[in-house]
Symmetry: D2
């Protein structure tokens, strides 16, 4: 009785590497791409860190954050001006700052010289965002918005593609291939937690999938960043999971850092403050040295 | 020791109904909306059926399909002209037919009078698609593309919002709220399978979540459609899961039907042929009668 | 670069059918076993129903329940005397009734003539339980307790093996093979909900996996029962999911029925009362007739 | 409309800590138990390592393994004599070695002085195993076999309770409570991978849940061990995930180490050899030092 079919399956197969994502696939076991943004390179011994608030709330807070995280070793300021929120209702405090937010990011960049990454949600704002951002973030929720990925790739800007919390490694590499096929080879991936049967606490909607780091690095030459803040959604777990991310081979770390975490406009359970961030940077650096890499 | 936090949680709470999706939430236990498209109404005793191929391959096949499924009781012709594919490579056979596909759908509609639903992926094609489509489909992969949902809602066309395979009921109702807040009250939801630890066969990437039908109907007044074809990804399971969908209260059924299933351009393991479709329509109708509803 | 390995995978493969569960595997597409218990047969047109409380609370309630569910068409009285509880603490009301519970089941059987199924947790109580039970239930939590399955199989009693909520179809068939290899061919499987990323409500810890019904029936000749009560954990969803279970081909239905649901000793959100049970039996029977089967 | 119910939920709540697992629950934020086995202590700065084969194959291999892993810093020899296998069929090579296996473990212990942990599956073999084992392992598949946990706890031997791959933190702490309530306070927990929607490769059936380490340590005072070998099921991922386990705070590491990995009797894709084990021990030690702990 023939029960087999030729369905492609959920996992990455040898055949996929050739036919589905030939550009994202490794060509040899030690094939690893270097992706350079400004004076920072992903994929080598140095592990760049992205730090900043979930939302760019106002000019003062984002300039202050840029200064403080740069002083502690962050390569990139992160912060959302355009943000996909699960519901269309926002308190005054929780409103997207959009064009203003981008302008404040620009100010932070000018004042500190830090590199900037921010999320793009719509093609129409790409030009505006590209004036300021050094790197474009495709958020988890838009990982399968292929027209957006294509448009972003065409700008030539370096890109980070966050994994959707319901998507497989195979889906994720498919999204990367949409960018690579446009001739934009400056693509890094970012794991930020997956939907799983058990996430332990009401506070944690996702499970940080660190196994995805060696799994992805086994099949793709693209650098793999990890974002423990959005995955755990719970500040007390951010430091241990950040160290674990470095230890298992992450090529970059993205962290939510806020001047005043309990008063963060979005998800106040998640960010860490400047001092804990500084301590964590030192610990991540020491962890990285164990495997011949560095964070500072 | 205080371990609690105020995180919103993964599941729908009473508070969410008031603050997160007041428009999607039921106001009383028997609150159920009727959504009318042409001469068809969702949410009443009649259970409309959508049938057609995954991809609109050419004019002849889509006109033939429209005729055959209409003759067997389908209210809607479904077929993708613009389609998000996991990888950017397509065989000649597997290429999106885009503007041509929409034109062929129009032809099928003119020749048979059947209602048409098709997927929208980009705001720029909304006008084109609205000329032909009676209902706009937001696909699973774009469920969290809120600008697209907003733009689609503004056209005033009835909409179907498919649940992303990694998203919760809470996320799904959030997406619906983005449409409702634009004043477009003609919104139906569609369950099409979720990512789960075990899907039984290499053939099945998803698990059809029928528990979502009573769960969604408990909290929202919007009609809930089920698509067993995309969920099971395996034709032999489509008939039993379609009957189960009707039995548990689905307000509509979407089925992949193809003139020649083994030669379907996309996912040939999934569609059923015209004769099995006709048989299934009769069985679904008999099942519906058990709970005071009808399919034919 | 060789990335493939020979790992067995998570899903049922053709090779498994021959080498891993040759006794549980179908030998031909229409191979389906009949399992007879007393005067009831599973796997044919008739769909037997198990009904009763989660816990055998006292003699009066179990005798009353046996009488009421039998009068409404149930073939089996279900009720736990020995029960695995997640925590070792029980209120006086919530205490296992153990030997007493088995004696009360015996009384119910003698008074009504109904068949009895109850859970076995330890080999030492097998003799005691076999004096009363017509069918032995291996609970979800003991699905991988292979010595228990072996010992239960050796008694020759018909057995139901419930699927663990974290286990695959492959794991489940492996458990059945442990019974079959002892020469006990009277084995039925029972799906009772799986752990999944999203279960919609705080009330629902599991997702009823109805796709497992056609999936299991595709590869095994053993009858497949469904228990919507334990899966949904929420009485309002039990009726729709029971009808869906029948519609998709379940070979038996297990339901939690209690004389006074809000005062059930265990999980009071889950059982339904006698009148709703009677109504549901009629609706399940009408649904079964659609596919040439019957419940009454 | 009241949609709320009083269901206990899937995650650990404040109320659970008081009523469901008062013995396993932390009493204050810095409450952490020390569990001592022979001359080794879990829960302090030192992180003990368990190493050895999946199955005790013969005397020579287990004695050799004991010597080699001890020389490289392992505190415990691990190896299965009694093992729950998913299917009842075993090649001659793959057969449980049972009483012989226990005798060979004893020999290895006598020759090297290493501590021994091995799995218990049935109460009837507890006395036999307790003569040799310094620590009893309750395997993943028996995590909810509460009579077995109770019987094992009553021996007074230190115990490791592995998390079932489908179980929540709440379920796991419930299992621990069954041991603690017997007065056996020498209990350690072990995470070994969970069933999840995406595990990346056909080789990986599970996802190592490192988020469970800080999550468990937030609510329980019991030490938390991690087993990356069984979780990843794939040797190339074992080293990075072991370093990550140490980095996120694991109180012990369990590794599958075999004299000749490709010829391992069970799961040959999973074990690492002696030299890689030695290198990994040094890297884990260096990683531990970052957080003030040590492996060597």
């Amino acid at each position: 009785m023939a029960i087999e079919n030729k369905a492609p399956g959920k996992d990455v197969s040898e055949e996929d590497l050739q036919s589905k994502f030939p550009l994202a696939a490794k060509k040899s076991p030690d094939h690893k791409s270097l992706v350079t943004v400004g004076d920072v390179t992903f994929g080598g011994d140095f592990i760049p860190v992205f730090a900043g608030p979930n939302m760019v709330e106002d000019e003062a807070m984002i300039v202050q954050t840029a200064r403080e995280v740069k002083a502690r070793g962050a390569s990139f300021l992160r912060g959302g001006a355009f943000k996909p929120l699960t519901f269309p209702y926002r308190s005054p405090k929780y409103t997207e700052t959009r064009e203003d937010g981008v302008a404040w990011l620009k100010k932070a960049k000018e004042e500190t010289g830090i590199l900037v990454i921010t999320e793009v949600m719509e093609e129409r704002y790409l030009d505006l965002i590209c004036e300021t951002a050094d790197m474009l973030q495709i958020g988890s929720r838009n990982m399968q918005n292929y027209p957006l990925i294509t448009a972003a790739a065409k700008t030539g800007k370096p890109m980070m593609i966050k994994r959707h919390f319901g998507c497989s490694l195979r889906d994720w590499l498919g999204a990367a291939e949409y960018a690579l096929i446009e001739g934009n080879s400056n693509v890094v991936l970012c794991e930020r937690g997956v939907a799983a049967p058990h996430t332990h606490r009401g506070s944690s909607r996702f499970l940080l999938d660190l196994q995805a780091v060696p799994a992805a690095q086994e099949v793709t030459h693209l650098p793999v960043v990890v974002d423990p803040s959005h995955a755990t959604f719970w500040a007390p777990w951010v430091a241990p999971m950040s160290l674990a991310s470095v230890a298992c081979g992450a090529d970059g770390i993205m962290l939510e850092v806020h001047p005043d975490p309990p008063n963060s406009a979005v998800d106040p359970l998640q960010p860490i403050g400047f001092e804990p961030f500084g301590d964590l940077m030192k610990q991540m650096d020491a962890t990285a040295k164990v495997i011949g890499r560095r964070v500072l």
